[in-house]
Point group: C3
């Protein structure tokens, strides 16, 4: 497959559809995630009350569940929305922020996975290792492990959950348990801004509203997000202006830049 | 009336008074709204606990109620604060974010309107149509209708509620049921940044602390906000840098730019 | 002491350690505080559920408690985390946002101080006066008093609580009741951006993970933060771009700029 042309085509269709992405996400990133969703080309809505999440999901094109500042009540709302999404057959993308850091985060991420069929889990290496049942090295919400250290755990986890698992790090790995794609787009500056992992999750959700294959949607989302990070790193050298440039780049990345910059590589799953 | 000179005068007095604007608003926009309030020239405070909202409102100069990430408990707090504002006679500005999208939002917006005398309702076309009892086209929190499609509903709604109704869109319309003012300031870039509608609401609240006439306060607030959007669009072409430029422009818009740029037009109410 | 060299040394060690700072803070500033923490050189985590705060604090290097958008439940969580921090002997830095504005804020700030041994209280003049039992002039969360008006109250409060008290204003004052240090770094532009006081608190917390002396940590944190504000004010003249420049400057302030710019002055406590 020519990945560059695929991403260009998916983005074009997404921007025409302008799909609604229902987020139940954390307080730290709500603003930047909403802005990122618009910049990519979709329409964000944030709603978390148990009195409306099902109705909101009922006309959304994808659902993002992000546990970054969780309470049990918020997870209850996520499960209500997730089940509605499953009923309607729209994709659910889970960001298990900090799974492995506290038992609440680990347990509640698993509670979501038990109750909801998730299309894609996007996590850092420690979060993915935790969900795979391994001991993980995590400090707060930052992984102390690299993606290639836990890459071998992803296919089994993906098969067990019938989900795509996307691990982000220096290299990103995307697998459904059968195929595995590596993504080398991105820039170290992305680690200097809060919520960039959350925004990568949202990018996957945006592309998943167009591509029926969650492997392709995840690869496209992470590559697109990484390309925007690369363009932003050319525009800015410190984190404040980099964050602004990232949002600019998610919006104004050109077809030419996508075609020339995409770094996706197909591998066989282990 | 010379609208430009009126806005300049109101802004001058507001910046001298530096009035406190108590916001009970949504998680997505709290930071950008607080910054916008300061940039315009007032002083923001965000407080939502039912244990303090009345006391906080008791020394504020205006109250903003925004239901963007509502729960019933937050609406209860809004009503407590709103009643205190009514008791004191300070203006209450309501932003019924997403009314029409879910029944919770529609019902809770109406619950506020039943319990609190609101000076100004600032909404997008679909939100205003919903409050007027019409079927509305809304996707999440984004209107799929234009302001001139629902303009005819606003005067009746305004008379029914004894409130000013301000519909924002390509052209904004402000009415108290007797007069109607059209505002052509603004820029399409404003739709690329989250929370710009919420910030337009805050601009109205800021001007309402000086002008006793809510029609004038609303027209001044929306024109001022739109002018800042126009200046920002000259400074930046992508949404990250546009958001920064918008905040800059709310602060550094000159008297000259106001005088030359204001596009308010008096119409008779239908 | 050569303060410049001390700050340079502390920052170097902090950036090597990359310490985790657990924040229980307000909705308005979560995003900017997380970004500021990273820019200074530490690692932020925001977690407020009573079901996880103790566990999160158990591997953090410092704890920030900020009551900006408090409810009683959030204060309960702060006390749980604060006691765990005390048990482990890690520093707790309190930001009593708006103490004096409402009785809830005054009472809950005192409830924290009764239950938790706090290393440093960082507040504006009105907040510090309130905690010292004096009548304060506050509008929402903005002090109407200058730091030198309440400076005389700080040493007694510090002795009573066995805490360092840091008052920020045109000049900042830091005291443990025995020594008093004045800091003249900073820029008036900082008042045009929301959450800069909160971020000054975070800067103290970051430096307190390295310096065992809370007076030094506070002086270093406030001077460093003020220097970044000064550098930002050279880079930008309006508040949107100033906020971006502040984040840039917290990251890229050079050793040379620290050495030449630091304005800390030792005074005897009154």
């Amino acid at each position: 497959m020519n990945y560059g042309e695929k991403i260009i085509e998916l983005r074009k269709k997404m921007r025409e559809k302008h799909p609604l992405i229902h987020h139940i996400t954390n307080f730290v990133v709500m603003h930047s995630t909403a802005n990122g969703t618009i910049a990519i080309g979709a329409s964000p809505v944030m709603a978390h009350s148990q009195d409306e999440v099902e109705e909101m999901t009922s006309f959304a094109s994808a659902l993002v569940l992000n546990i970054g500042t969780l309470t049990k009540e918020w997870i209850d709302a996520m499960i209500l929305a997730g089940r509605k999404a499953n009923e309607r057959g729209i994709p659910v993308v889970l960001d298990p922020v900090g799974a492995g850091a506290t038992s609440l985060r680990t347990d509640e991420a698993k509670r979501i996975l038990d109750a909801v069929k998730v299309s894609v889990i996007r996590g850092n290496p420690a979060e993915v290792a935790t969900l795979a049942g391994e001991k993980a090295a995590i400090q707060g919400v930052d992984s102390l492990q690299e993606a290639d250290e836990v890459k071998h755990l992803a296919p089994k986890l993906a098969r067990k959950l019938s989900s795509v698992v996307a691990i982000t790090g220096k290299t990103d790995f995307i697998t459904d348990g059968e195929v595995l794609i590596a993504c080398d787009n991105g820039d170290p500056m992305l680690r200097l801004v809060t919520g960039t992992g959350c925004l990568a999750t949202t990018a996957i959700a945006c592309f998943s509203t167009i591509s029926p294959d969650p492997v392709i949607a995840s690869a496209a989302g992470l590559s697109y997000f990484g390309l925007a990070g690369e363009k932003a790193a050319k525009r800015a050298k410190s984190p404040g202006s980099f964050e602004v440039a990232l949002l600019d780049s998610l919006y104004d990345l050109t077809d030419e830049e996508i075609k020339e910059g995409v770094k996706l590589k197909y591998e066989k799953a282990v």
